[in-house]
């Protein structure tokens, strides 16, 4: 399966987590990892499976390196009904209500563009004792299964004559 991993990071932790997912589940798939600062919304036109891994900046904002991408898509929303996505949202519970809001903003925006969410976003707390990478790899296994199921269903629907 082809999937785009859109990494939105301030300190590199989201990138590390994305790489861990590629290491754990990448065999046999084509996962392309892109930093948001090096990408533009047009990339989503050709993307069918998207995984956003985003941290949070300040009090609930999208990290600065991903701001241009995010704002461009908000200002000129694309029709993303062809796209299925998942979100891993990193944050710090010390920030209370705005915890992991960066990733949650991506979730809302993608939904508004008509993209289809495959699973509830995974919220990761940097202040917690949990192994964030471990949780992300575990969650991504479920996300991958759902994505493959969805692709399979689509293929069956588009080629009904196939036995």
């Amino acid at each position: 399966m082809e999937a785009l991993f859109l990494v939105v990071t301030m300190t590199g932790t989201s990138e590390m987590i994305a790489e861990d997912i590629v290491d754990a589940h990448g065999a046999g798939h084509e996962f392309t990892l892109r930093l948001a600062e090096h990408a533009q919304p047009s990339i989503l036109a050709q993307t069918r499976q998207l995984l956003v891994i985003s941290s949070t900046y300040g009090t609930g904002e999208v990290p600065t390196p991903g701001k241009a991408f995010f704002d461009a898509l908000s200002k000129s929303p694309m029709d993303l009904s062809h796209l299925r996505y998942g979100v891993i949202a990193l944050g710090d519970t010390i920030y209370g209500d705005t915890f992991a809001n960066g990733g949650r903003q991506w979730d809302t925006l993608l939904k508004e563009c008509g993209a289809q969410r495959l699973a509830e976003p995974l919220l990761l707390d940097a202040s917690g004792q949990d192994d964030m990478s471990g949780l992300a790899v575990e969650w991504a296994e479920r996300w991958l299964k759902l994505a493959l199921q969805a692709e399979g269903a689509e293929e069956n629907a588009s080629s009904p004559s196939k036995v």
């Binding site: 300190t11 590390m16 390196p65 519970t93 010390i94 920030y95 940097a126 202040s127 964030m132």
Partner: protein
Amino acid sequence: MAIAIVGSGPAGFYTADLLSRSLPREPIHLFERAALPYGLVRYGVAPDHSGTKAVARLFERVMKRANMSFLGNVEVGRDICIDSLEEAYDLVVVASGAGVGKQYECPGIDQAPSITGLELSVWFNGGPLPGTRELPARLDSICIIGNGNVALDAARLLAKPASALLAAGVPESVINWREELGLEEIHICGRGSAAQTRFSVIELEELDELPRFCPVVDASDVEGATGHNTEALHVLQRYSRQAADSRAAIRFHFEQEIQRYQSGELQSMQQGRRRTIPARLIVHAIGQRAAPIHGLPFDHDKGCIPNQSGLVEGRARTYVVGWAAQPGGGQIALSRSRAQSLAPRLLEEFERTAGRGPRRDPERLLASLKRDVVSWQDVLQADPWHIR
């Protein structure tokens, strides 16, 4: 062919990350003055902000790459000179940070018991207290000079319950010192208005969650205050409306021009009026600068190592990155973006000069070092951050 990086804080590790990805076969030696890695992340970030410290896991990952080596407890400029590094390495990158707290200067202040906010943070994070600092065993008031997050971190660490500090890993000896003080008030004193601070909302709001202390702001200080930091001003305005309770005060003082220190008090002027602020201990939290490295030029005014787009002035193959190149900014993420900006130039330079001319074998240089160098293996076995 090999690369030396001096300093294992964010700037050093982000640079190591980028270089070790692009040059997976070239040895990269990471020198660190302290015995343990991570610099600012370990010692500058407050111990109770564990989420900010979580980036250390990324750095730990970088050290797993085959071409990375760690050499702790080695101070470049003292244990090993810059010239020797340049002889043995194709590229030297200084990422020594801004590890020196600036001290406020006014008549009499050298008579005051004092500590920098950075030193306080290092100490609460389990690092050493400089031998030159003698802290009082008992005092009723502390005055923190500075209006940034280092000042707020200091106030919070001085005010937070012992149990919370213990949970955050603050050494028991430090907690005991704090508990025995008999501290009744904490003052935070700055030159600018209540709207000109560098406070973050989150750090400011943490001061309102303390069981034994509460933030106190004068209404006259926040009314009509103008400046860029309106978010922090709104929090301060809220504090000014809160009724005093039985908790001890963390009292804010704005627009203070401190004139002198005399017998446990700071004398200052606020818009032409005399003010006296109790200060049995002064915490300097007015910024940081780099520490000079013997053998490299130093700009004392700017507090950094002078450089042209990263290349250290007067040097052929020594670069500087992060706070040592340009102090301030105060964010770990900024070190990452600065390392990203410099990396292409470093790679270009490495391609250009690698293997040219007679070079001393780095291994022979390292063999000539003192014996108590801390290896990564040692770190993994001894560092509480890695024993999980």
